[in-house]
Amino acid sequence: MYSIQHRSQKRAESLPKYLIYLFSAISIAVIFLIFIFVFSKAWPVIKNSGLSLITSSGFDRQVQEGFYSSDAEPLLHYGLLGLVSGTLVTTLIALLFAGLIGVGAAVIICEYSNRKISGVLIAIVRLLASVPSVVFGLIGILTVVPLIEKLFVNTDMQIKYLDHFQMSGRNLLAAAIVLTFMIAPTVISLTVDAIRSVSDIYKETGYAFGMSKFRVIAKIILPGARSGILAGLILGAGRGIGEAIAVSMVCGGLGFLPIPSLGFINFLAPTLPLAAAIINKSEAIGSFSVESALFSCGAILLLIGAFLSIGAKAVEKRMRKKDGLEN
């Protein structure tokens, strides 16, 4: 009797289990197929350019030449360094801003506002997170770009730096700012959840030692919420790296490689992150050369994404080790 019941129970349980395995296997297979597809399309350019694909720049010119090269004798030598740096720099700056804004806002929501206000703030954050990127881009064009033009760009400056680039309100800074507002809601939501999950017991520990509220937040709550904050930043970084539409609307569309001696002026230079480049040049994809070049942009994006998640794991592990939570 017992064994019969036991076996039927087991069968009933194992069906959903196998379904889950099946779906996991399918998703893994799909990810592999995407990698294979992208890399095979990108292969002509990768093979021809070799390492100089990511160590040299010149994409803006090459993509035009590539478009006019015949498919029989396509131009396959590209240099994407300007695009890679555009991706990394805009994302890093946006991440920095969004990290500060996001953690600050989350602290205000959780620790410095009453229930009603925090409810309203969270609703706003959720709303922001669901705004389509093209709307962010549009708002960027209508507000951020003119603002930057007004604050930083004038004719004298434009003439002064004409040798390097055509200065306008569409630049690295604009891209980073728009991206910041797209990433911040994610960082805020995840940080809020993380802060709320820090047990009251831990907070009381701090207060009991005469810590001020600010110190409890800095020394106990935020460290306790660390993995949530990190998760928010990683999701944000993923979004920043992959964001195409909004960024392509405000970035200026040229893969300018920052020149260290120009300092802050680099922020006013146009930029072209990898994802924005794919959008920007997608009309030209009929050309074999451009197609392969854009797929190589995609391939690099995939690799950056993969490194990002591995890197984040390593960082988290390191921090846990420092606290003795792991060997």
Binding site: F209, S212, K219, G224, D323, G324, L325
Partner: protein, 254 residues
Amino acid sequence: MVKAATITLKNVSCHYRGNTALKNTSLEVPPNSIYAFIGPSGCGKTTLLRSINRMNDLIPGFRLDGSIEIDGENIYADSSKKYVEDLRRRIGIIFQQPNPLPTSILKNMYLPLREHYVFDNDHFRQKAIANLQEAAIYDEVKDRLDKSALSLSGGQRQRLCIARAMMLDPKIMLFDEPCSAIDPVATLKIEDLLNDLKKDRTIIIVTHNMEQAKRIADYVAFFYKGEMVEAGKAMDIFTRPQTEILHNYITGRF
């Protein structure tokens, strides 16, 4: 033996938003003694204990009437942040649930010091080790000071918390059912420790365990439904209860 502090409660009433948890309590805790608060659940023991280091100030709507004096100083006279924070660092509190932070043992020990002193590795470490020794846990953790405090057992965690609470040299230590989550052997270790601690400190302990109160308390106050019913020398309380209700409580007829 160092003379510790005297705590005097005068007509203390504690109110939460909407309800009164404790009415009109007056008692005196002599220096270098262990004072036990006993009584059935919900009678206001924790409320009173947490009022002595003003932890209840963190609860919105909490109000205390009357006064609590430490060596004659009314600790409710000044409500500036600075005064309250300073008061809390002078008083150690150990909660019912051992609460080490999810970080290494040593970092837990450094937490209170870091808050009030400039970091000095040698000095901090020395002090941490001395306190871990006094809390009778050093031998059990000396090889893993850099490991997570969460890898300790319940009793070890509680002793770690006691050691940590001693880092700022409090003259008063408050214990809220420190042994309710741990086994009898660990409980005895902590009781020994309390007897040791009272040499230089004044100790108040909330306990549900009558045997424990008998073993370690010098004085006992019995609370019932938000009022202090009886208080006095432990011997008198346990051998000659004046009220029927206390008699019933200590004989377990509840």
